[in-house]
Symmetry: C2
Subunit: 383 residues, 2 copies
């Protein structure tokens, strides 16, 4: 991507002297986090396979009655591998191969839970508004080829896998959903979590393809901690994060596909705010690169029809409940971010800040119920 | 404040070349905003009176059926003026004089609505847990000396004033509240808005002094736009911002008092997220400086007893619904931030992103009601 910056972090590090840089990071990214000492075989493999590898550790205080609950999480961002005009199954297989390669490195780094980007087994073709061949990328969440592929990976590496795909639900009249499949480290499908909020914004007119999810705010009790998945546009909805947290999520993944012009200044804010507001970890994953399509389409933004969506800016990152965050992965390259977290930090932060205790949810349940009524009267004071 | 940085913005501007700085601001602060051309008499007065003066303009697209709705908002941050051991009424009067001086400059800059910091007519003495003399700073919201002072200012300058004070409510058994008084540009008291969420965090053990507010989520229809006030700790609660927005607020003020060690990395995130999530402007105002008290007190953080709270880091700023934000005021000096905003940007952003339309509030009202029940069962999936 000529002209695209590799990352904000690299730019700041290039220009700011180390003593002042420390204060910049404190103000921008919160409490200092520890770079992980990843095995050299992993760094070499990442370098050879041409992807960005970074690792950071988030620590918690020692407790007397609970042992530290250390988990290593992996976030993967990647480009599509073949042109969007290639046969569907070849495109899928090429993505499987790329992900297998990156997950191999995640395993070297001791990752326990890995999450891929939104609709990872396909190009993000929803901008086209065309149905074929794109709906052919939809697969059964329970036994599609992508789920089977993930089950093998999960077993091989003893790793929980969060696999966001386009789901074909043949049990309910061939409905299509935007769904994350959660696969246990044993290889079993634990269940699925569907995208709750669907955008109708510019090129993201996804309601052409699927509707609002009906799986609510499930949390999955994995061997390594309680996780939930808030897919893409759901990150703009604070109540969506909140309900996953109320159901007990300690880590909420946000697999996404979003582009620079539209959302890049929102990207560092929303998931990090959710980590703070809900006393949990959030993992933000964005696609990377530019995807080209055969036929022109319009974005509804008054500009000319075009054949690409814009630049997916990557920049995947992890936020902690104490407001600290990791640097972002590359804005232009594939990447694997490894985050080691002590999940005890969630309850420790909750005990410090007490947002759930001071939340007054009875009042809000009542006000929200009233606000959804057609005859709702806003509370406006006039002189 | 020896050793305290003046501002993040100045540090970045010192080191980063202009062409790269543009991209840094885009990534950190969103769409470029316009520095306001403030009158030179205002700059001179600010310089003479020793406070930071900055001005920025947020623009909206032209519409055919609505005219631009331009409003100028002023955010004021200030230190206390006298030692906390001085007589109560002298401390109050000195603060009145300082604010009158800064509001005079706001008037030169054409400000229509001004908001002061939380409990602006007193030191933030709640850390002491002592009652006298601090409760003597509490005044009637309707006709206390501070409200009368603000009414005169409002009439003189044709300015709406948001005046957050410690309120003595003699009608209800001498109850004390943390309250913002909203004074119309005509000088009339429009009403009051009480702090909805009360912290019990370290030195912020404010529930010793006042309880959760009972004025709900009122919005005030002023001559210059619909405003609401989310006081301090309420900014950690996304539902609090949300209900002000559902009641129609276009600008939500967040008068605060918060210190570096505790919250500085959260400060740029929460109010900005609220502006994005609710399609409105948010105005974040923080106290500045360090306040010393006569008797030692403990923070409940395992450290030694101390006589000051820590450093209030100022850094007041404005966030727009499109995710852009202004630079912050000084971390160490008094300041006035003038923001010109076209309120049409709120509905334009809502029409673009549709968060209220896609919010699924019926579902959340139902889930939230269930979550508040003592026998609530979290939705947890096990293998």
């Amino acid at each position: 991507m000529a002209g695209e910056l590799e990352s904000l972090e690299k730019l700041l590090e290039k220009h700011i002297p180390p003593d002042e840089l420390r204060e910049v990071w404190r103000l921008l990214y919160g409490k200092e986090i520890r770079p992980l000492d990843l095995p050299s075989c992993a760094s070499q493999a990442a370098s050879k396979a041409g992807f960005d590898l970074q690792g950071y550790g988030f620590e918690a205080a020692q407790e007397q009655t609970r042992r530290p609950r250390i988990v290593r999480v992996g976030l993967i961002q990647n480009k599509i591998q073949l042109p969007t005009t290639d046969p569907v199954t070849e495109q899928i297989s090429a993505l499987h191969r790329r992900i297998a390669e990156i997950v191999e490195v995640a395993a070297m780094c001791g990752v326990n839970i890995v999450c891929f980007q939104e609709a990872w087994s396909m190009p993000f073709a929803f901008c086209t508004r065309e149905k074929l061949p794109w709906t052919e990328f939809a697969e059964s969440a329970e036994d599609g080829m992508t789920t089977k592929f993930c089950q093998e990976l999960a077993k091989k590496h003893n790793m929980v896998i969060v696999s966001p795909i386009l789901e074909r639900d043949s049990v309910h009249g061939d409905t299509i959903w935007n769904t994350a499949v959660i696969i246990s480290n044993t290889g079993a499908v634990m269940g699925k979590s569907r995208k709750n909020h669907i955008p109708r914004v510019g090129d993201f007119n996804e309601s052409t393809y699927y509707m609002e999810g009906n799986t609510g705010h499930r949390v999955f009790q994995t061997a390594f901690g309680r996780i939930a998945v808030n897919i893409c546009y759901g990150r703009h909805h604070p109540l969506n994060w909140f309900m996953y947290s109320m159901n007990g999520a300690e880590i909420i993944f946000n697999p996404s596909a979003t582009i620079g012009e539209l959302s890049e200044s929102l990207w560092p804010i929303e998931a990090r705010n959710a980590a703070i507001a809900n006393h949990c970890f959030t993992c933000s994953i964005n696609r990377v690169g530019t995807e080209h399509f055969e036929n022109e389409f319009t974005s509804g933004d008054g500009k000319k029809a075009h054949r690409d969506f814009g630049h997916f800016y990557g920049s995947s990152y992890v936020s902690a409940p104490d407001g600290s965050r990791s640097p972002g992965l590359s804005r232009v390259r594939d990447g694997l971010l490894v985050a080691e977290m002590d999940l005890n930090l969630c309850r420790q932060t909750s005990d410090k800040w007490n947002f759930k205790m001071t939340g007054r949810y009875e009042m809000y349940a009542d006000e929200l119920t009233k606000a959804t009524q057609p005859d709702f009267k806003p509370n406006i004071v006039r002189e």
